[in-house]
Symmetry: C2
Subunit: 408 residues, 2 copies
């Protein structure tokens, strides 16, 4: 594990116990030594499920498994780190099935009620015996509050464990949301290489949970990028146990959901931003905002073109106010923009206005902003009212070091 | 100028004089000191012209100028390095016009017969007085054979001057093609950040020249990528003086063009590959071939997804046979592929077959291949007969060093 990211939060937050969730972690020695690499969660009967998965055409075996068996109900989650069980053919699918069957035997449910995720190297056979062999002892000592251990166990190149918690009022009851996540490379829009698991004791039907998760995901997990690469294994799962009590909500437009929706939005953005803050080699956290676009979707494409540009990311790493590279990235996106009305901001400093350098632009003020850990870049395209915000990090020597030497 | 690229050719080739072309270079001190930064070429009356330009929605003033004035005839070319005259508003367009007018006055032609290109920093006003002031003395000493000086003058972060020459038989006459180019960063498909100028003494009408250039460009300049970024300034111009004599060819499907077409194809690939060999920080030249795709266009998109993947490029830099990242990149492209029939090769070593690691795969043989300067990566998608080849380089610490510190 490389040094702690300079953008890491102060520590892992205190996540409360949730009625209907027990979890824990253990060391199965699948790849790493001296650390946990398997986590398991068991959910109370009646827990509902929602999911978002990678759009890769080469999905991992666990992603294929989840898509295939996902129904409204779920009883367990098993996640391993160190091996992605991706591009492993029929043997990989068999390994996924064996894992689900083993967990189902312990929990007393159908294998199809067990969700799986794996993260790590692609193309290596999963050491399934080691994984399955570790489950009974792990199952025997699950607790209600081992959130940090679970978050630690699913890390790969992550330098810190990622967690977040929120609460909301729902139909007169206080409900809680806990989330854990991993991810630091192969992170890109449309579901970064990340795993995220969100647990709530709110009483929500599966379709409602899916609608809420899909909407929240678009503005969080699908609005981050570290290196533009897309994983074979991206998975976000949400589990609603209903343990808080109250009447189950069965319509996504139910007005009682407002506070929960807001809390879920904040929680997913928190987790997604933590992934960016742990971006491989990251030294700056960058917020890219695009406004004045033809529409919101166009704004997001431009924002991602900026956020994915190696030349933009290296200029930020160098604390160089080379705003011309933002112009380049806007142009590269191919989206509608009016050069003569385009404006560029670095922090609050307007670098460009009306298609050229702004008259009062101060490179030293822009440079001051870039010296900080938190960088804001804004492009106003001057053609409409569309806007979007995405988050990314800079591209540094450490990214090269980490990725030119990942498996060694 | 950083150290010479380890992938550089042995030296600048010997480019012959071409009837109807005089050229030269000078130092205008626009940004660099102690080196030439302006080149000029003067073409004989009757020279025909073809061009390819960036698809950026933020094109530079010289690109706007060329697009606006381009007709069938041309008399001069003026190129400067150090300042891109991009995102410089009305003043930038006026600076381009002033430059063309000054050159036209010297040559005795219309300003619209002067082509322009600028490369360097975006968003800084072009020091047009310095550029215009340098032209009379430069014009006075143009020669027929200063090709290397011209190629040297248009460099920015390039570590070597790029040139190529070919000859062809055309209607019983031997014709020659000379080309010079620059480019090493902000290089991506759809016209890498490069400038390339191709001169021939062949007798070709402007439409024929354009048809030949467009076709050749698709398999050369538009089949390379260094960092996925697109310049505001990409320009390829071809000039045909007709000085070799013979009847002018006026139909692109004229059978007499076969040998010329082949020579132009070889010349443009040679120049495009030189740009990749000077990719910022490059230590490996990578040929990515995709076959078995739904069609050629799909194959090219997959090849570019592989070639642009930071994780693929860093794994090659690290000489690590982490072929799972190629699978990731295929999946990321979103193009049709059959996971169970996908095969991956590193050099001649088959790493994956039938959707999993190949039974006889030898990581040490793959590693042997990756230790060389020339790396070949192949993906067979197993769905059709489409194929494409693109060229790129690895992503190294030197790319970060160069780009985090470009303007300082």
């Amino acid at each position: 594990m490389t040094a702690l990211s300079p953008l890491a939060p102060a520590g892992f937050p205190a996540l409360p116990a949730l009625a209907g969730v027990r979890l824990g972690a253990t060391a199965a020695g699948l790849k790493y030594h001296g650390r946990d690499d398997v986590m398991m969660a068991v959910l109370a009967p009646g827990t509902t499920l929602a999911g978002l998965f990678t759009r890769s055409s080469m999905p991992s075996a666990p992603v294929q498994w989840c898509r295939q068996v996902m129904a409204g109900s779920v009883r367990a989650l098993v996640v391993n780190a160190g091996n992605a069980n991706a591009f492993t053919g029929a043997k990989g699918l068999a390994a996924a099935r064996s894992t689900a069957e083993a967990a189902a035997g312990l929990v007393g449910c159908a294998p199809g009620e067990v969700m799986l995720a794996s993260t790590g190297v692609i193309g290596e056979p999963l050491p399934v015996d080691g994984l399955v062999g570790a489950l009974p002892a792990l199952f025997a000592r699950l607790t209600a509050d081992d959130w940090e251990a679970a978050a630690q166990a699913i890390r790969t190149t992550d330098t810190f464990a990622k967690g977040a918690t929120r609460s909301a009022q729902l139909g007169g009851v206080t409900v809680r949301l806990n989330g854990i996540a991993k991810g630091s490379g192969m992170i890109q829009p449309d579901m970064a290489t990340m795993l995220a698991f969100i647990f709530t004791d709110a009483p929500l039907s599966a379709p409602v949970l899916q609608a809420l998760l899909s909407a929240a995901g678009e503005r969080s997990f699908n609005a981050i990028t570290v290196d533009s690469d897309t994983s074979t294994s991206d998975t976000v799962l949400a589990f609603a146990t209903g343990g808080a009590g109250g009447e189950q909500i069965t319509a996504a437009d139910d007005g009682r959901l407002d506070d929960f929706r807001q809390a879920l939005g904040a929680l997913t953005i928190d987790l997604a931003q933590q992934v960016v803050r742990d971006g491989e080699g990251a030294s700056k956290f960058i917020t890219v905002r695009v406004c004045g676009a033809a529409d919101d979707a166009s704004a997001k494409r431009v924002a991602l073109a900026i956020a994915n540009s190696p030349l933009v990311k290296t200029t930020i790493a160098g604390e160089d106010a080379n705003w011309g590279r933002l112009v380049m990235a806007v142009g590269k996106s191919g989206e509608p923009a009016d050069q003569d009305r385009t404006a560029i901001y670095i922090g609050d400093e307007q670098a460009a206005a009306g298609g050229r350098r702004a008259p009062d632009y101060s490179e030293s003020r822009a440079h001051e902003h870039l010296k900080g850990r938190e960088v804001r870049l804004t492009a106003d395209l001057g053609v409409g009212a569309g806007e979007a915000t995405v988050w990314t990090c800079d591209l540094t020597h450490d990214y090269i070091t980490i990725n030119a030497d990942y498996r060694s």
